[in-house]
Every structure is written in C-alpha cells, then in structure tokens.
Amino acid sequence: MCFPSKFPFAPVSIILLCSLSHIVRRFSASELSLNEVVALVAPMAPSRSGSDACRGGTPEFPAGLRVLVVDDDATTLRIIEQMSIRCRYRVTTCTEATVALNLLRERKGCFDVVLSDVHMPDMDGYKLLEHVGLEMDLPVIMMSGDSTTSAVMKGIRHGACDYLIKPVREEELRNIWQHVVRKIWNENKEHDNSGSMEDSDWNKRGNDDTEYTSSVADAAEVVKGPKKRSSLKEEDIELESDDPATSKKPRVVWSVELHQQFVSAVNQLGLDKAVPKRILELMNVPGLTRENVASHLQKFRLYLKRLSGVAQQQNGMLNAVPGTIESKLSATGRFDIQALAAAGHVPPETLAALHAELLGCPASNIMSTMDQATLLQASIGLKHSHAEHAVAYGQPLVKRPNIGTDFLPSVLTANDVSSGYGAWPSSNNTMGSVRPNNSVERVGTQNNNILMDILDHQQRQQPQQKQQQHHQQQQQLRQQPLIPDQSCSINVQPSCLVVPSQSSDTPQAVNSSASVNQNCSFGRNSIIDYSLLSQKSNNSVSASQFPSRDTKAQGVLYGYTTPSTCSMSSINGNFQHLQNSTLTFGAARPFPSPLPMSDRQDPYGFKSGDSFDQVCLRNIGFIGKGICIPNRFVQNEIDSSVSDFSQMKVHVDSSGNTLKEEPNFINMQKGSRPMVERYQSCDHSSVFTE
C-alpha cells in the first residue's frame, strides 16, 4: 500500500475555493505546485487585513486551515496533529474541552474548524459542540470510536458538521475544509434567498473594497455566489460579533428607531424612487453606509412584497418553501412603506385610513373579527392569493363568531392563546392555514357562511403546507393581512395589526393594533402591523417569547383582522402600545418558531416539534379569542435573527400565521445556531434576511 501525499485538489476546485476570499486570505502560502492556484492566490496576498492577527499569508486553500483539535487521548491528539500538519493546516491541540473553549473565546476569529472528541472527562463533546455553535458558530466535527448510528445521530442533532469514526485517517482530515466552505456558502445562501441579488451585487461591487481586494473580487467572479453572499451576509446579519470567515465589518443594528427613520425616508422619497443614497441622506445617521441602507432596503422591499404580493401570486406559486414567499411578494412597496412609517404613531383610525389610502380602499371601521376575517377570506379567495395568506385569515375567522366582542380584551396572553387554541373547533386541522384543505370546513364553526366559503376557497387555493406552517409558527393568532391587494372590493378588513405590545403582559395591545380596519388588502395591513409589531416587540411579553426567535417569518405583518366588535378603544389603546415601538421589521416578526417555542414559554403548548398544523391551529384559536398574538410576535420579531427571517418568509405566506418552513425548523432545531444571539440583537435586518 502506498500513501499518496499530494493534495487532491484540482485547480478548478481551488478556484472555487479562492472565491471565498475571506477564507482564502487566511491561508498561508504553500509551496504546492498548483500553478493556477498560486496565480490566483498571489494577488490576494496583500489583502490581509491587518487587524486580524490570526490571518496568515497568502492562502492556498485548504492549506492554512486553522484547526483546533480537542481530545483527551494524547495518542490520538498527537496523531491528528501530525496528520493536520501533513495537510498543511495550522493546527492547535488541546486535551481539555474547557481549555479549548477558552481558547476559542479568547482568540475569536482565529479558527476555522474545530475537531472534537466525543468522550472527554471534563466536558462532554456534545456540550462543547453546542457551545461552539452558539458562541462562535464554527463548524465542529466530532470524532469518536463509537460508530453506532445513535451516536452519530446525536452528533448531528447537536449540530456537528461531520462525525468521524476513530481511528481517523489522513484522507478524512484532508476533507474537513468542505465543512468550512459549506457553512459559509450556506449562510450566504440564506441571504440570497431572502432577496434578490441585484442590490447585493450592486453593493458589493461598489463598496466592498475594504473587504475584498479587487483581485479577490475578480477571483470571486469565477464563482459569483459566495462573494455576494458573504458580503451580504456580513452586512445584514446581526450575528455573533466575530465571523472568522468574513472580514469584520461593523454590523448595523436596525433598531426600531433606525428603521423608522429609514421608513420615513423611504416614504418621503416614495418606495419606487427610494435609492439608498437618497435614503441615506435623508436619514442622516452618522456611521451608516449606503451599503447598509441598500441591503436594508432590499430586505424591506422583500418584506413588503411578501405582505402584499401574496394576492398576486397564483396558487401554484404558493408553496411552503421559503422561496415562495419571495415569489409571492408583489411589489407593493409604496403603501407599505407609508403604512409602516405611519404605524408607529398612527392611531388605529389613522392607520386604517392609511391603509385605505394605500390600498386604495376606503377606510372602514373596524369590523368584527369575523367580518374581517370573512373579508380576508374573501379577498384571499378572490385573489387566489397565496394560500398562506388565506390561511392566516381563515384562522381568525373561524374561531369564534363573537370574537369581536372579546377580541381585543382577549388579546392574548399565552394562556389565552392556549385556551383560545382550544376554542378553535378543530383548530389543528381546520384552520385553513393549518391544513390546507380541510380547514375551511372546520374553521367555519362560527357559522360564518361567508367565511366558510372563503375558507373553502382558500383552502383549495392555498397550498397546504404553507398554512400548516403558518399555523404552527404563529402560535398566536396573527392574522396576516397579507396580501390580497385587490381585496378592496371585498371589504376585507385589514387584519388587525398584530403588534405585540411592548409590555409582555399586554397581548391585547397587540390585537388592537391589529385591528386596523382597513378594507385594503391584507397585505397592506400586514405591513402596518408589522411595523407596529416591531415596535412592540420586545420581549418582555411572554407571548412574544413564544414566537421565539426562530420565527423570523413573523416579520410578516400579522395582518390580523380583528372583528369589528373589538372595542375601538381597546384597539386604540393597544395601538398606542404598538406605536411606541419603533417600526422594525425585525421586530415584527414574532413568528413562533417551532424550536423556540419549546424554549420559551409556550402558552400554547407548542413544542418545538409541533407539527405545523398544531401551530396553525393554535394561532387560529387565538384569533378566535380575539387574542392578539402580537406580543409574542413582536418579541420574536425583534429578537428574531437572521434565521428567523427565513422563517418569516414562510409565515408571510400563510397569511399571518407564519409558520416556519419545515426546513427552517429543522435548521433551527439543530441547535447549532444560536438563535438566541440573534434575538438579542433586535436585528431588523434579520427580518429580511433569510
């Protein structure tokens, strides 16, 4: 047997790798004879950022990969160390997990990948894995002599990128770079999904000089994706502070205030005419770059689209896939923006008027939830808007005929929600959103014929998945007005602005805001809601807790239609609450994510593993009760991090019940992502980013 010791990388693959400038830059030059690589890499050599002391010289990926190996067995450690050296990695070894963690913390940004043994005396390898995932978000590869499926599964569940069976062979070590690359690309892809690439490209080209040398940029041209994505990612994601893979760029936290400024600037200019440069000028915020604005604008547009675009989408377009939300979104920026801008300080009536204005429909009084729901349904039905939307509407409708009366007051508290949930007749499946096709019937327990019809209609039209997802996500009834633009004729009341009140204890507040009666399409409303919600969202609300960060999707306005019976005053009052919170897209997204749910109080009893249906149902239930989910949502929104954002997409579709898409859930659940972190940072951008 002979053991080859040359690099197995073909020039092509190197080129691809080189496009990951942030990684590549860090690698030390190698004397390998891959001329192409050298040629590519050479120009990048000068692009080291001086600030990063850990960066090396010219990289030749994957040489120079900075590996941290943790294993209590000295023999194995030494062997892997030697293998890594053979692979030309920059390896650091550690026999104790605690020491390793400290090392990672102290030298953030100095490692690309962590290799850890599973069985260690001072700390379980899985624990270390979780910590690393949470704090540093590095790819972690587990190693163990235990090759049983359950052990490997456990590793996966805890978020390991890979699981190597001991004894580890050198060939296996040579492949670990793929996890670093994959992780970065996937993260970037998330951004991509959330929006079009035009802006990001545009941003990138224009302003990324600090991050990339021109040569790197050129190299990136070869593989377009990663570069754009990483740039976008850096800018927009409010993640843990250090991202070793990308050059550090101060992250912009789109706080509620900032977002409000942004929205008003956009409003002033008109969404169609809003360009980052002008927006930046209008906002006049020191330290904010045009890039930041541009990416935020992109997200904002997407968000608006989502809210209003549902109606325009064919049923077929709807699907639970996160991407669909985007597709669904129609460009209805103008009114959205206005609505949003106004949301913060507009009393319900004004908001309604705003909606009306935006939507072109006459403002109407707040209708009973049922009515509104009906309208929503109708509009949805008419529009064949995305099923998701319809679903969302349907849900509240179904719930209770008398929702109106107790609508506002019962905004929900987590308990309410759960009880509300129960109130839903068969919420779990009935809600249109939950189950795509059966909910109509069930939803209509209220004897709301119209509603039933609408729901039926919707159900038929809407993709089931979305609804389900939405339901699940929205533990609270969040009606999302989503969509239907043309609903003016229908008379659908705009969904209540489900704006989670700031105070966690006032779920009702959320409702009230939601109950903006707009005849306008829900989409519009949703926008407003969103903003309102965002204002509130901050976490204290237990409800908001609920949606947990995972529910990024929550950003979608909750277009919650409150029954007209809701007392205006309460609505107003609630609305006020909402207004307090600044508009933040991010904030408005409290869609409960399956994962977080388990973490947070789950009034509805959602477990992270809950099926979407259940989620949907719950939401529905709430609506019936007139519970305003918003608090929860708001909370989530604010907290939601980028990852949530992805969920948001899903939600939007489901008309308020933003359900996280299944995949999101899975991602979330894997626990490797510190959703928590995201939340902390009230990352509005996360709303948009996916």
Binding site: C2, D73, I79, Q82, R86, S144, K166, R169
Partner: protein, 154 residues
C-alpha cells in the same frame, strides 16, 4: 550489519505483525506520517500510547477490584483504551476492548475481569513487538538507511 540487511530483517519482523493482526493499517499511516521533519514521530506516538495504556490498565484493575464496581467508569476507561489502541493500530488490543465493553454493558463482573486479563496480555504482546520494531527502525536510520515501506499485495 548492512543497511539492506537491517531493512530486510525489519520487514521480516514487521510483516507478520500485520498478518497476525497485532498491528493494522493505522500503524502504517503512522509510519507514513513520519518524515524528515518528524523523524521520531512513530516512536513518540508509541510511547504516548504506552503511557496512556498503562495508566488506563491500572485504573481498570483498580476499579474492578472495588467492592462496588462502577461500570460506567470502567466503560469509559475501556473506551479510551480502545480509542488510543485503534489510533495506533494495535488491533488486537482494540478488539479486546470491544469485547470488554460489551461485558461492561452486561455488567458481568467475571467476564470483565477475564477481559481485563486478556487486554493486559495483548497489550504486553504488542508493546514488546512495537519496542522491537522501533529499535529496528532506529538501527536502520542510524546506519543511514531509510525505513522500508510496508507493502501488501492484495
């Protein structure tokens, strides 16, 4: 003795070790990792293995002598021994550890004790072989030769 003689002697000694299952392919990997930058890599790793193993075996003996046996701890030790022996390529020791762990799961004290004996035996065997092997290698290197690569024809 001349270098090529030494080399032949080395091969004659080493090959059966592989064929008899004392050592496996992992050991070959170790040899591969040795180069001019790390001329004593194999010796280094082997001595690490010896240290770890002896410590573990002592711990195991001690644990099994207790009145109330902590099987979890024993299992942890055996797992560790299994890991280090597999990383160095001490195949027989590793196999013994696997059996040992099974008995630990069953909490079969007698079987565990006999397994421990077996592991100790196998460890002593492989220790001797490895020490001889390394000595032979060092002789070759000292004589200016290079350690021949083991080649197995399949």
């Amino acid at each position: 003795m001349e270098v090529d003689q030494m080399q032949r002697q080395y091969l004659d000694y080493t090959k059966p070790l592989f064929l008899e299952g004392f050592l496996d392919g992992q050991f070959l990997q170790l040899q591969q990792l040795q180069d001019e930058n790390n001329p004593d890599f194999v010796a280094e790793v082997v001595s690490l293995f010896f240290e770890d193993s002896e410590r573990l075996l002592n711990d195991l003996t001690f644990s099994l002598e207790q009145k109330s046996i902590d099987f979890k701890k024993i299992d942890a030790h055996v797992h560790q021994l299994k890991g280090s022996s597999s990383s160095i390529g001490a195949q027989r020791v590793k196999n013994c550890c696997i059996a040992f762990r099974n008995f630990c799961e069953e909490q079969n004290i007698d079987a565990c004790l006999s397994c421990l004996q077996q592991v100790k035996q196998e460890y002593c065997h492989v220790k001797n072989k490895l020490e001889t092997l390394i000595r032979l290698e060092q002789q070759i290197v000292a004589a200016g030769g290079s350690i021949p690569t083991m080649e197995f024809s399949f």
